[in-house]
Symmetry: D2
Subunit: 374 residues, 4 copies
């Protein structure tokens, strides 16, 4: 239910205003020393308050690992359990709302399902707050993937109509590879807005502020890449890499679409354009000339970079007047959502997308069997 | 591995040139008489040779149910096992190819994984042939869903650059509802090409034939809708309706993207545009004014029509000259794929998409618990 | 891996000397107020130090629920996460041991698997301490089962060669039913040793003390019964009630055997003796005349009481001299295990067995589907 | 539901009088040539009519593999699907019975669950006939396990009160090892009754014939051993080797108890007796001096032989007069079961127990991950 993965399994718990959010992460190889600074740095990228466009709710997002490590601070083979306390909650904002579902939000379905038992404060378990433990689990997984030579990065490819430079991952020549490495590197320099082209990021920030000032919100597209992913991951039909990544990525609230490689664009290509030809490289190995497949054929990794995009709808909680209903009186009502909501979730969803990519790739890697052929 | 579903579970088996393809379907409620004509009619929609644009491989696609029914021909509570024999196989087409992977196809990853043990004939278990048992399982599930008041339909929304009229499922007024019903109805009249606007279908067919005559292929987009789906299906985070449907739909070979409701388009909307407002209808019930959410909020169905799109890349097996390699000699080689391949898989993938929608919705329906609240 | 259940899922974490042990419990129906006193009382039955025969390690075993409840303290539909802090740990006892596996314990297999990454202190994740979160999860589940009219009880049927009066659950006449109820009731009166016949409990306690004084330990048999379990639970073949209960009960460290109803005794009965005949009761309903089946036919509950027994081997950590090896020097060595170990785990395993019965029955109950027949 | 295993997954289908029984087996390593003679020989051991004490229903039990092999007859990485046709069915025997549940059989629970939709003929999916595909899957798995140096054998340890010589698997000295090998070998010589001591087998056969002549039936105990099983298989708590094997073995109809190593006998041992001491062997490796643990510590294999016992109740279908009820009229009725039923299922269950051991061990072997430690 709140669990993802077979060999690397994450089980998420918590609600926006519960004492804590957290997760259990099973399956990380034993003997890995946890880099706590890297963990904190990853959490900071998702933390609220990091830019002028994010919610003013402040969360330290400090991760406490309560089980799973040995006295040396390494993974021990036992499941890792971690918690992140919920501070600075303002349930009053929600109590005052009455029983009025916010359009575009999960309120309506949650009330229908659990009635008054639902913990509505802050959206309960539907809150974006639940992406904090996903980030913590993903950050731990990333520490292992990096040791396997895998790098994962994401950026805001678009906010509304404003676009960023895309990853250079659909061409595979030497120059493209170098450019892709540089792009990934640049996104790690602590820039306040996650775009490859910083100037585009400033324009995006401005657009978000404008929308916010109108009591409105924006959506966008996140592009995610993973390099160094070994070939041979994934299984045919229902457990292919696309199936697994898509199932993971739709866990991010607001995601309404996922595609890979040329993606929706492939629908208007001809076979002779879309097919990635093969060649023999200088080492006598098979190489793939380009990567419209996004690193995946038949559901299985080819060794080329994994490339995905996710579409996020605009934040549903907006200050603008909206039509809703009062579920107590069953009357129509006008709603203006108060509280501290991000006018665009895309920037803070960027590390979450990386975390889910990491968890899914980690699961595929760790699912590798000792016996595959006789 | 080749299994989908929790409460309604399908396990698919077979290779393109094995004696048979088939599946086991567990979880259909007991006591349902199988309508064999409806099953055969559904299979015929996917069958090769049904239109001038499809492969000339002929398959009767006759479904034999070898287990699971009682003597009256009803489901009995036991798992259903069905087989579809593979006739008219021409392994020679493949043997002559040498060990040369077709660009865009799963050949390369399959050889890397299983070596010479891989059953390469016809693409082995990566063949589109494996969608036949998916259709059979989906058709049986549909017979149950129809009794629950659920209708599912799909059409070719686009072939290359040519578009069809979309489903009227993002507006929910009475006129839209009637139009949507009429659209669904029209797609069941046995038309040779699965478009709502038949004239657009003729243009698409012509484009496919043109591509074929150049030894090339086309991709496209399929739109799928389900009406009558009850609210309250799906679970938060990893088992939401989008997660489950996406995982299912990526089982269709060639699918590279999935989105729901406004989908990728939602990324450029404002919150005030994308949010679907609530109202009170004539019966005093909550109604949703429009449906950019595609029937899903917080991963859970709202009762509005489910609406999804999938992007299919062009057929990878093309007659045009392509660059490949010979895996025996490790030399570059030019390849022209022979054999009988659809120049565009979209038309035959339309019933497959319906089948997977049915299996996923069936699984969500049958996962409903007797105890949800105290 | 550390997860049990489909519809009611428990994921356990922690090691003996980690900051905490705990678990995540998903699937309890929403709207149930947690009875914290009943929870604490259940935990107290497993807690160390409750009788002269148990370890002198003191643990308050206080359960903190960090997620899953609504502000009213009810289940909310979100997963419940709970932790139990580990106090009073004495890792020194273990550090002094060197790298010498205790015969009969998991030390050897853990070192082989995880090497020095294994958190050996207190046996790491193999510690009996991990049964504390199982009890907490089971106790919460029991609160729901009791509302469904289900009662679960267990007792020490045997310690070494000393036996207790068995549950009157294999005969189903009115007198037997009343006696069974009285037996279950009597076990809840706070008695210090979990036997139906208190005098037998004193003899058992004495035998345990004698074994302890010799630096040795004892095993035993626990009998578990559940009344009020509805018929129709369980699925044929691999998901029958016996399969599910056995998988759960073997989670208790030291369990080496499980049987149901007449169990191993059924092997020496004739069919005419073992078969439970049917009759029509005063209400015109089918009744079952006796219950050698232990409430299960074809893997499915009959409505009669569920009856199981588990065999527990004697505690492996004993003070007596034993032959072991030093894994650093690879030399034979004599070992006398220090530390505070129960000379017999049976009494404290009694509530653990009830907890696992509760979790397994809860899972079977909550797996019930809304649609089973047309 | 009808599926067992994670890495090696078997999904069973069929009813006693359906056109066929069969299964899908996923996960066997690719490239293994199937030995069809060995498969047929294994099936013959379970086949009816092989001894004077078994049912007179005749089944060729011929296995047809309809998918999963490559043209060379090797496993290909695709799921294996196999069917076994049901011949010689006599539904009349069942139709004449009316709606009268046989005591001790699954009839009552099946009618309650599925009503008249249940395929009652021959017991439907509860029939012992369903063990035929389990044997076929197990036999294929065994062919792989044998290549890994693993041997599996089972025998009738007891029929009623008559016992066979047990496996010499709880002592591990050189002489015991040789004796165990000889015992395993002897059981493969085609003997008509599966006992180590053939004379005991004759006595057992006679006892079965006597019970049959009285219209009655007998139960018994099967002992199963596996040698050559590598250490390190299994996971703590819920996925230990005992949990997995027990879940598998309870799939055999009539099994009411399972234990491992000293099993229920361990309950009356002292720790100093039950613990298996460690020593250093001639190669400087850790050796285990005896094997009361049955090859499993902490749920994980030690490398010593796996040893289990299962208790089977007597056949429930007996000719003797029994009390039952007519579910149509809801009146008490006397029942004498006609039809061809084994008066004791133990002999034919012996290969089934081996098959389930093979499937469970195969699953544990194939679940081994490529990455376990850093």
């Amino acid at each position: 239910m709140n669990t993802f993965g077979e060999a690397l399994k994450v089980t998420v718990f918590g609600q926006s205003h519960a004492p804590a959010v957290g997760c259990v992460l099973e399956g990380l190889p034993a003997g890995m020393a946890i880099d706590r600074e890297a963990l904190a740095a990853f959490m900071a990228r998702r933390a609220p308050g990091s830019s002028p466009t994010s919610t003013r709710r402040k969360e330290a997002d400090e991760v406490t690992i309560i089980a799973g490590l040995n006295p040396k601070g390494e993974t021990s083979g036992a499941p890792i359990a971690l918690t992140i306390p919920n501070g600075d909650t303002r349930s009053g904002d929600y109590a005052a709302m009455g029983k009025v579902p916010r359009p575009g939000h999960a309120d309506l379905v949650a009330w229908r399902r659990w009635g008054d038992a639902w913990d509505r404060a802050g959206g309960g378990q539907f809150s974006g707050r639940l992406t904090a433990p996903l980030c913590a689990a993903g950050a731990l997984c990333l520490q292992w993937l990096e040791r396997q030579g895998i790098a994962i990065a994401a950026h805001a490819l678009a906010i509304g109509a404003i676009g960023d430079e895309p990853f250079r991952a659909r061409t595979l020549d030497e120059r493209s590879r170098r450019r892709l490495s540089a792009q990934i590197e640049s996104l790690r320099d602590g820039r306040s807005f996650p775009t490859i082209d910083e100037a585009r990021g400033w324009v995006m920030e401005k657009a978000i502020q404008e929308a916010a000032s109108e009591g409105d919100s924006l959506g966008g597209v996140i592009e995610i890449v993973a390099t160094g992913v070994p070939r041979d991951l994934g299984d045919p039909m229902f457990d292919g890499v696309e199936n697994v990544l898509a199932r993971a990525l739709f866990a991010i609230p607001a995601v309404k679409g996922v595609d890979f490689g040329a993606g929706f664009g492939a629908a208007s290509l001809k076979g002779s354009e879309d097919n990635d030809p093969y060649a023999i490289d200088d080492d006598g190995e098979v190489s793939i000339a380009k990567n419209d497949a996004g690193g995946i054929l038949g559901g299985i990794t080819t060794g080329a970079p994994l490339l995905a995009r996710i579409a996020l709808k605009p934040t549903s909680s907006i200050a603008k007047r909206q039509r809703s209903v009062d579920l107590e009186t069953m009357r129509a009502i006008e709603l203006r959502v108060k509280g501290r909501h991000d006018p665009c979730v895309v920037p803070r969803a960027v590390p979450v997308a990386e975390a889910l990519f990491a968890l899914a790739i980690g699961d595929l890697m760790l699912s590798k069997r000792a016996f595959e052929r006789l």
